[in-house]
């Protein structure tokens, strides 16, 4: 039986560094100013580029909901999914791309960055991020465990945590 949620997903520093490096290069190549990675359930994984002046956690949640809703719309019209979304504003725009059906990459850019360039550079970036994820999961499978269970035997400490 599938076990949903927290126990199925973990990131270490090495994974994060690999993702960050790829996206930082993408930002430099396109001139987009910021990026954000969230998982499909709306949890924020990382932000890159210029610091965001809004709450990235909220943004991650709303983006995932937006993406999921659009996924369902795609299925209703006979498509498997929409792998990308583009929201264009007067000054700021966002391009959202699915990564291996596990993560969402959001690219934020102003009107100095042409959308065509973002689209052009997006495909190799998604492929590279997918490769990073595959390596992370393969590593986890080979070692037989994703990470040491940090909460092993923590029953009493958990009780204490909620003693308020």
């Amino acid at each position: 039986m599938t076990n949903p949620g927290a126990a199925t997903w973990s990131f270490d520093e090495e994974d994060l560094a690999a993702l960050t490096q790829t996206v930082d290069k993408f930002l430099a190549d396109t001139g987009a100013h910021s990026a954000l990675i969230a998982d499909r359930s709306g949890q924020l994984v990382a932000t890159m580029g210029r610091p965001l002046d809004f709450d990235p956690m909220v943004f991650a949640t709303l983006t995932a909901a937006d993406f999921s809703a659009n996924d369902q719309l795609a299925r209703l019209i006979g498509e498997t999914d929409f792998t990308t979304l583009f929201h264009q504003g007067e000054k700021e725009s966002m391009y959202v791309a699915d990564v291996a059906r596990r993560l969402i990459l959001v690219t934020l850019f102003d009107n100095r960055t042409p959308i065509g360039l973002v689209r052009l550079k997006m495909k190799p970036v998604v492929e590279e991020l997918t490769a990073h994820l595959d390596r992370a999961f393969s590593r986890a499978r080979e070692s037989g465990t994703t990470q040491p269970n940090i909460l092993a035997g923590a029953g009493d400490e958990i009780d204490e945590l909620f003693n308020w």
Binding site: M1, T2, N3, P4, G5, A6, A7, T8, W9, S10, F11, D12, E13, D15, L16, D39, R40, S41, G42, Q43, V45, D55, M57, V58, T61, L62, A65, S68, A69, Q72, Q147, N149, I150, L151, A152, G153, A154, G155, E157, I158, D159, L161, F162, W164
Partner: protein, 223 residues
């Protein structure tokens, strides 16, 4: 999600239940009571008449354990029947569920429909509600037409049979003296119920007891 880089444990809890049962009220109370530096913004995607359209969302930090910050992402689903597609989306990758039942006797049918809907939507993802952290809240206990808790329990939380040897023992309900969460029937089967809490969410009664219970179950499931 366990983010080892940021030293954070992020868990998702969904408040489910029939329309106008008190799901959003639970989150609003939590938002109003917890310290501002331990919570984020309360996001409500709602209609003009304040009925939840897509979801409410509130991130709350509930403390640090073994050097990891525990952050709980609380969501509510829209309760109205025709928003089922949205409810399904919100349930994805859930770690714990709170079912907020409306205690009013006239809402028993709506409660039952919503509970069945929860089981059905979970099953579509391949999730088994009897195997994940799950807590029931009987809200609106202050109303004169509130059904007795025993009736609500019989209808909504009668228990499920389990076959796990580790759980094959009478287990008292830590929240209700004299009651058990796991019991053995005269015919030998072991039956487990979800923990339940009485609440008057609009006053805050029972809101934090419910949140603490489900959060504890979520972390213990990881341990």
């Amino acid at each position: 999600m366990i983010n080892y880089a940021a030293r954070e444990i992020n868990c998702k809890i969904v408040y489910y239940g029939p329309g106008l049962g008190g799901k959003t009220t639970n989150l609003e109370h939590i938002y109003g009571k917890v310290k501002p530096d331990t919570r984020g913004k309360l996001i409500s995607l709602a209609t003009e008449t304040e009925r939840t359209l897509f979801f409410d969302f509130l991130p709350v930090d509930l403390g640090t354990i073994r050097g990891f910050n525990t952050r709980f992402h609380l969501y509510t689903v829209p309760g109205q029947v025709y928003y089922n597609a949205s409810r399904k989306l919100i349930l994805k990758n859930v770690d714990g569920v709170v079912f907020v039942a409306d205690s009013q006797i006239e809402r028993m049918e709506a409660n039952l429909e919503s509970m069945q809907n929860l089981y059905d939507n979970m099953a579509e993802y391949g999730y088994d509600l009897t195997k994940i952290p799950f807590v029931v809240q009987y809200n609106k206990r202050d109303l004169p037409n509130a059904a007795p808790v025993s009736e609500l329990q019989a209808a909504l939380n009668p228990g499920w049979e389990h076959h796990e040897p580790a759980k094959a023992r009478v287990t008292p309900d830590p929240y209700h003296a004299g009651e058990n969460l796991i019991d053995q029937l005269p015919t030998g089967e072991w039956v487990e119920k979800a923990p339940y809490f009485e609440a008057v969410a609009i006053e805050g009664d029972g809101v934090f007891d419910t949140l603490k219970a489900v959060s504890k179950l979520v972390l213990k499931a990881l341990a």
